[in-house]
């Protein structure tokens, strides 16, 4: 995967570049808006990570310019401003996700993979499948090894999100934002409880445990035998 990073803060940029390279990605870095826009329009990238506040051309202008030119590369916006309005502005400008600085690298990585995947699987799916776990999006039915489960609506939504991002790390914040659709700061490990309930339903009694906890990052639904 080829990633473009447009970020003027040298230490943040170094840290992201280093982390992404370690994760096996190819990274180009621009430290101002002008150069960033030039790279973004002349090269082909899988994902772009763009800071909002940039010298010469600001982040939102870059995104608007790209979208106006029919460039649909997924964009993750970085910002020091955590305002809801800023988030909305960023997403309206054409950003795919929004991450407030400072962030843990695991969060950034999970979000980059998520928006990349979203791009790939944008075609409407009617059926999700991870190992022997299957979800029928039309009939709202979940089965594992032919056995069907009774899931609460929220559990269904949680599992759907996890299955759509199968094989990727999904952070707690991402789950709150996409499954519960609230941007807030839970004081307790309330998400963990929901995950363990879901795990009880889909993994209990099976040899292969599909729903894994990724320490320090979040969760991942995957087929352990497939890797």
């Amino acid at each position: 995967m080829r990633i473009l990073l447009i970020e003027d803060d040298q230490s943040v940029a170094d840290y992201i570049v280093k982390g992404l390279k370690q994760s096996g990605f190819t990274v180009d870095h621009a430290d101002n808006g002008k150069q960033g826009l030039f790279l973004a329009t002349s090269e082909k990238y899988d994902v772009m990570v763009i800071d909002r506040m940039l010298p010469h051309v600001d982040g939102l202008t870059i995104i608007q310019t790209l979208r106006a030119a029919e460039n649909k590369t997924p964009v993750l916006i970085l910002s020091a401003l955590g305002e809801v309005n800023d988030r909305v502005k960023g997403l309206k400008a054409g950003g795919d996700d929004y991450l407030v600085k400072p962030f843990a690298f695991a969060e950034l990585l999970a979000r980059i993979e998520a928006i990349h995947r979203r791009q790939e699987s944008s075609t409407t799916q009617t059926r999700l499948k991870v190992a022997d776990l299957q979800m029928d999006l039309l009939a709202h039915k979940v089965t594992r090894a032919g056995e069907s489960f009774n899931l609460q609506p929220r559990e269904y939504k949680l599992l759907e999100y996890l299955m759509k991002h199968a094989g990727q790390v999904v952070t707690r914040t991402m789950l709150l934002e996409h499954v519960w659709e609230y941007h807030f700061d839970p004081q307790t490990n309330v998400i963990d409880v929901h995950i363990s309930r879901l795990r009880q339903k889909i993994d209990k009694g099976f040899d292969r445990q599909l729903l894994a906890t990724v320490r320090g990052a979040g969760y991942m639904l995957h087929d352990p035998d497939a890797e």
């Binding site: 840290y15 400072p102 519960w180 700061d185 309330v190």
Partner: protein, 456 residues
């Protein structure tokens, strides 16, 4: 209440002193007026008696008894009260001519002046013992001549004058007091208005100011000065807050870097060291969460999020909160009793209200012992909605009820027992204030009852 305030006010006391002083001054003036007036009046009476005496003596001496009688008759035609009475007696005090009976028993004041009492039947019933003032002289021929005048009217008019003066003094005092009370009342009312707005500012939003245009003169200046003082207090407070917010903000980046370095390090270590580094990372995460919460509160308090308000149904948010936290309550076998009124709408920030209700329910779940009960209620009351979260935990001691909203404050009993950074309720308070609402902690005996009031 307001009456008590008026009488105890400085203005009123000042005015009481003023009225007393004024009364004394008015009294002095009136006494002088009375003395001057009565003196002039008495002099006039005396002069006219002396004049009558001279004229009558002349008539008697030069024209004899008949002319005197004619003179008297002519004089008797004037008004009774102003009438003069004449008497001429010989050396043995035997009446020669006159319209008085006998030479009366009199009190002598010297210089020929005398006074006596006499019944004057012609003045009608009740006219006994009329006071007369009189002057007499002895003619060179030996007869005594006396001219008397009723004193009644002089006394009456003197009484009239002094009565009028006394009454006007009373009126001065009464009017002065009433005026003083009214003026004191007005100034008390104004001070009251100002006091109320100051109290409101002190308990609520420090950025509010006293309305200067409502005030006039001295009060306007006072309002100006109070506003300036509030400006100063606010800027000092902001300074302090800014420093702490900046500290939180500036420490976040190095902390994140520290955490990332630790994560890098973790991968190169053996299992045992990895575990230790994991603890370090958790510590760093905790610190970051605290800083983030602090900054979030600061941001909410700045009021900038008000622009993102939309119309929303509080019931939907509460149901979502309950849905998110229900598994936590289940784990402790807690019963959640819910009673949410449907169809309500308030203007607010969805995420922040969720955060506030979540913090409250999170606390309630944390502090309620296993198998306890938690009650959640949403009702509309007039132009407000009330949200109640009541638990059956240990509650909050009365003395701490106000302090729990302070940043980093934790009730002693919960320190170290439950996880938390002491910012949960500060966050709730900030959110509720942003929405123009109020929050009240009461006893649920046992437990804590949090009542929130939000404007529709």
């Amino acid at each position: 209440m307001i009456v008590n305030k008026v009488f105890s006010s400085y203005t009123f006391r000042f005015l009481s002193f003023y009225v007393t002083g004024l009364s004394v001054a008015v009294m002095v003036i009136l006494v002088v007026v009375y003395l001057t007036m009565s003196r002039g009046y008495f002099n006039e009476v005396h002069d006219s008696i002396t004049h009558q005496l001279d004229t009558f003596s002349d008539v008697y001496q030069q024209h004899g008894i008949d002319a005197s009688r004619a003179y008297i008759d002519k004089q008797m035609e004037t008004l009774k009260l102003n009438r003069y009475y004449y008497l001429v007696v010989d050396e043995e005090y035997k009446k020669i001519v006159g319209n008085l009976g006998d030479w009366p028993k009199f009190t002598d004041y010297g210089g020929g002046w005398l006074s006596f009492e006499l019944d004057l039947l012609e003045l009608g019933a009740g006219a006994e013992n009329n006071d007369f003032v009189a002057r007499s002289l002895q003619l060179p021929s030996g007869e005594y001549v006396l001219v008397a005048r009723l004193y009644e009217d002089v006394i009456v008019s003197a009484q009239l004058v002094s009565g009028a003066l006394l009454r006007s003094m009373l009126v001065t005092i009464v009017l002065g007091t009433i005026g003083g009370a009214i003026i004191a009342g007005l100034s008390v009312k104004r001070i009251d208005v100002m006091n109320k707005s100051i109290q409101q500012i002190m308990v609520g939003d420090l950025s509010e100011r006293i309305n200067v245009s409502d005030q006039q003169g001295d009060f306007r200046e006072l309002a100006y000065n109070i506003n300036h003082m509030l400006d100063r207090i606010q800027s000092l407070m902001n300074g302090v807050k800014q420093v702490s917010d900046n500290v939180a903000h500036d420490l976040r980046t190095p902390l994140t870097r520290l955490k990332n370095h630790l994560a890098d390090l973790q991968q190169d270590l053996g299992a045992e060291s990895q575990e230790q580094v994991r603890h370090l990372i958790e510590e760093a995460d905790g610190l970051l969460a605290t800083f983030n919460a602090l900054l979030r509160i600061a941001q909410i308090e700045s009021g900038s999020r008000r622009s993102g308000f939309s119309q929303l149904d509080p019931r939907v948010i509460l149901l979502d909160v309950v849905e998110l936290y229900e598994p936590l309550a289940d784990d402790k076998s807690l019963r959640l009793n819910m009673d949410f009124q449907a169809g309500l709408e308030i203007a607010g920030d969805r995420d922040l209200l969720f955060q506030a209700f979540a913090n409250l329910l999170d606390n309630a779940i944390k502090y309620t012992p296993a198998k306890g009960e938690i009650e959640l209620r949403l009702v509309a009351m007039g132009k407000m909605i009330h949200v109640t979260v009541a638990d059956s935990g240990p509650g909050v001691p009365q003395a701490d009820k106000k302090r729990v909203f302070r940043r980093f404050f934790r009730v002693d009993a919960s320190r170290g027992v439950e996880v938390g950074n002491g910012l949960g309720l500060s966050m709730v308070m900030a959110v509720i204030k942003l929405h123009g609402g109020a929050i009240l902690l009461t006893d649920n005996s046992p437990g804590l009852k949090v009542e929130i009031e939000l404007p529709v």
